[in-house]
């Protein structure tokens, strides 16, 4: 795997957009998720998912913002082979985490495949599917509508990830299968180190992240480090 855009593009400083490192984006998104009301545990996972998506060229920060703005999504009720829909669509975060946690259990991937009905936010879910493949050290095939892609044991997606719709509100049925294909013939997507974030998205992210910060006061300033004496 040879990372792309390690070199900085020429318009690095001339466009209104910002370039982030993967880790920087991840840390920002953790704060964004926490600031929007997710618990710290979920925030960590959302940060990881955003970083993974961006690493493979998808707008992780926009996926996260969509997740922050979505409401009334439910956690799945894992049952063998089929996670059935209720009245309300499944949450991609909850489905993704459950996919990882139940991967080795009968209610999860078991030995064959699993269908999750009615889920929003497919890109967000894909990040967790990738981690599941690494966790169980077995490639996975993910299918929805007429499309499919593979995740290998190193949590890398196949190149079809470029075709994934970024429409967060789209409800899809997803099938996850332990792939028996020879992954040597599957082209994986190269990762990249830099993430371009539009100034508009950045403003929205910052607004959520701000909610994790404590306003400064003289007392807090004093207790943080007190007085320094630079002449010594």
């Amino acid at each position: 795997m040879s990372p792309e855009n390690q070199q900085v593009s020429e318009d690095f400083y001339t466009s209104g957009d910002l370039w982030f490192s993967q880790s920087e984006l991840q840390q920002l998104v953790v704060k964004v998720a926490r600031g929007s009301g997710y618990c710290w545990s979920d925030a960590e996972e959302i940060g990881w998912a955003a970083s993974w998506l961006s690493k493979f060229g998808l707008p992780g920060e926009d996926v996260v913002l969509s997740l922050m703005h979505s409401s009334e999504l439910i956690a799945p009720t894992p049952t063998p082979q089929f996670w059935k829909e209720g009245r309300i669509p499944h949450c991609p975060l909850r489905c993704g985490l459950a996919l990882m946690d139940f991967a080795q259990l009968p209610e999860g991937l078991g030995t064959s495949s699993l269908v999750i009905e009615s889920m929003l936010g497919l890109p967000c879910f894909l990040a967790f599917a990738a981690r599941t493949a690494r966790q169980i050290q077995h490639p996975l095939k993910i299918q929805w509508e007429e499309q499919s892609l593979f995740m290998n044991e190193a949590a890398q997606p196949s190149v079809e990830i470029d075709k994934v719709s970024m429409e967060f509100g789209k409800i899809v049925e997803v099938k996850i299968t332990r792939s028996e294909s020879d992954m040597a013939y599957v082209r994986t997507k190269n990762s990249q180190y830099c993430v371009r974030v539009s100034s508009q998205s950045f403003e929205q992210l910052e607004a959520f992240a701000q909610q994790t910060l404590v306003p400064a006061s003289d007392l807090s300033r004093l207790r943080a480090g007190g007085h320094d004496n630079p002449t010594s």
Partner: protein, 537 residues
């Protein structure tokens, strides 16, 4: 890992700056200063280059004319005497121009994946100006004054991988010279040390003209780079449990290897006695006015004296496992400060035996960022009670046991520690209260059957995911946790800082309060132009 012992940490030969220098020497790296464009007032930029067998790295230094009233070591400062970045390769003119627009701004600027660190430094005004004046007049500065301060400039932040757009760890992980932790940051600081001396010599030459002299190499070696460090380092120790485990595990493995040597040689004994003597000398020079450190320094000096007496008068070097016997004696007789000093001393003569452990101090944390959902609650409960016993006997409802909260201030995102019962902001607390979280998990698990898989628990209680992961990790990483209540009124944050700084290789730990500290890096070590003929071990 208890906080009190961490607060007595000493640098060892496995410290990151020692690892860096050993590698540079072994691989015969060369060093150069291809750019020096500073005016009479010392304003301008310079480039220092380190050329290794496969790659080169360049420290790009910007030197500024800082009004005295703007000089502050605090993170909230907005201007500094000098600012730096470590560039991956050789910077072009366009790179320098880009960096000149951004590096002086520090957090307010942006760097790129071509850069590996971002840092700044302020002058130690009294010493810096004194040295310039003395050299300008053709005189060498007084040794005692150099020893007392120990540096010409001190860095106030050295940001590394991924920060402000800099290259992520992933960019570096395949490079042998960057495999050990914080090698880019250490290289940056080491080259910064050379810059600080070049800068005083430049200013002295501008001031004194023909009569100015350069700093005597013997005096120069007394100078390191200072560093002023606040609470920002403490959360790192909690947020990277697996990495921290590897640091401590390497140290413990090293100590175990030395203790398991059945005999000692006269060579290792001589080396041990020599480093003990040097440590005593160093402890006598070590200055601090902070009451906490004054007590520790007294314990250290007395403990080392006790150790010296024991080694020369009572220690039976002919017995089997003599190093182990010495260590065992220290656990019974010496204060913590001297015990930890002895740990560092024991490693010193045993480079061949332990230096390979440096390679084990880095890790890919990504691989361990997972939860085993198929684990049964009974198994999780077992790990919790076995590995977090230190957290379970505390009543976290008691005001003194939850007296503090860690938070991030709006002010330049500075990590801070608040008083829960008298300061606002606890609702935005950072999750560093590991002991309390473990106790809450223990309480929650009382409602769950042993045979239920963890996946079911997390489906209902996703908020416990992080702490469940830590409990699961504890089964494989016994040194991953700081085994104390980090929100207690009794907790001293500087103890955490000292532990991390010791792993860096910091010396002359000088607390300025219970939550920020000054230290020195690379003091006594060779400069780039001396490395090839220096004795580096």
């Amino acid at each position: 890992m208890r906080v009190a012992r961490m607060g007595c940490s000493h640098p060892t030969r496995l410290s990151f700056l020692r690892q860096l220098l050993r590698r540079l020497k072994k691989e015969n790296w060369s060093f150069d200063r291809p750019v020096w464009q500073l005016n009479q007032r010392g304003v301008g930029h310079a480039v220092y280059q380190a050329q290794g067998p496969e790659r080169c790295y360049s420290l790009v230094a910007f030197s500024h004319d800082l009004p005295e009233e703007m000089r502050s070591d605090r993170v909230i400062a907005t201007a500094w005497d000098a600012t730096f970045t470590l560039f991956d390769g050789t910077p072009s003119t366009a790179d320098i121009e880009r960096l000149e627009r951004n590096v002086p701004l520090q957090e307010a600027g942006r760097i790129s994946a071509k850069e590996l660190s971002l840092s700044r430094a302020n002058r130690s005004v009294r010493l810096f100006e004194y040295v310039v004046k003395e050299l300008a007049q053709g005189r060498q500065p007084e040794r005692s004054r150099l020893e007392h301060t120990g540096y010409l400039m001190r860095t106030t932040a050295v940001y590394g991988t991924g920060k402000f757009g800099a290259a992520d760890r992933g960019v570096l992980e395949d490079r042998p010279e960057m495999r050990a932790p914080f090698q880019a940051e250490m290289l940056s600081v080491w080259l910064t040390r050379a810059f600080t001396v070049d800068l005083v010599e430049h200013l002295a030459a501008e001031l004194g003209g023909a009569q100015a002299v350069n700093l005597d190499p013997a005096l120069r070696s007394l100078l390191g780079v200072g560093n002023s460090t606040g609470l920002g380092m403490a959360p790192f120790m909690v947020r990277h449990p697996v990495l921290i485990h590897h640091w401590f595990a390497a140290r413990e493995e090293a100590l175990a290897r030395v203790r398991s040597q059945p005999k000692l040689t006269s060579e290792t004994l001589d080396q041990f006695c020599e480093v003990l003597r040097a440590k005593q000398e160093n402890a006598n020079q070590w200055q601090s006015e902070h009451p906490l450190q004054v007590v520790k320094l007294k314990e250290l000096r007395e403990g080392l004296m006790q150790l010296h007496t024991f080694v020369h008068e009572e220690w039976d070097i002919a017995q089997k496992y003599p190093w182990d016997a010495l260590w065992y004696w220290s656990q019974l007789e010496l204060p913590l400060e001297a015990q930890e000093a002895l740990a560092a001393l024991l490693l010193e003569p045993h480079g061949e035996l332990i230096d390979d452990l440096g390679d084990q101090m880095a890790t890919d944390e990504e691989v361990t960022f997972k939860v085993d959902g198929s684990q049964l609650i009974g198994e999780l409960r077992k790990h919790l009670h076995s590995n977090f016993f230190w957290a379970l006997g505390t009543d976290y409802q008691q005001p003194e046991q939850c007296a503090r909260f860690w938070y991030v201030s709006e002010e330049k995102l500075e990590p801070r520690l608040g008083e829960r019962h008298s300061e606002p902001g606890a609702e935005r607390e950072q999750p560093l209260d590991i002991g309390r979280q473990v106790a809450e998990l223990r309480d929650l698990l009382r409602e769950w059957f042993d045979e239920t898989p963890v996946a079911q628990l997390l489906l209902v209680h996703p908020e416990f995911r992080s702490i469940v992961r830590r409990v699961q990790l504890s089964a494989h990483y016994p040194f991953a946790e700081i085994q104390d209540n980090l929100i207690s009124s009794e907790m001293l944050p500087i103890d955490l800082l000292r532990s991390k700084l010791a792993f860096f290789g910091a010396t002359h730990f000088d607390p300025r309060s219970d939550r920020w500290v000054r230290i020195s890096l690379f003091q006594g070590e060779p400069y780039p132009n001396e490395l090839n003929r220096a004795d580096v071990s």
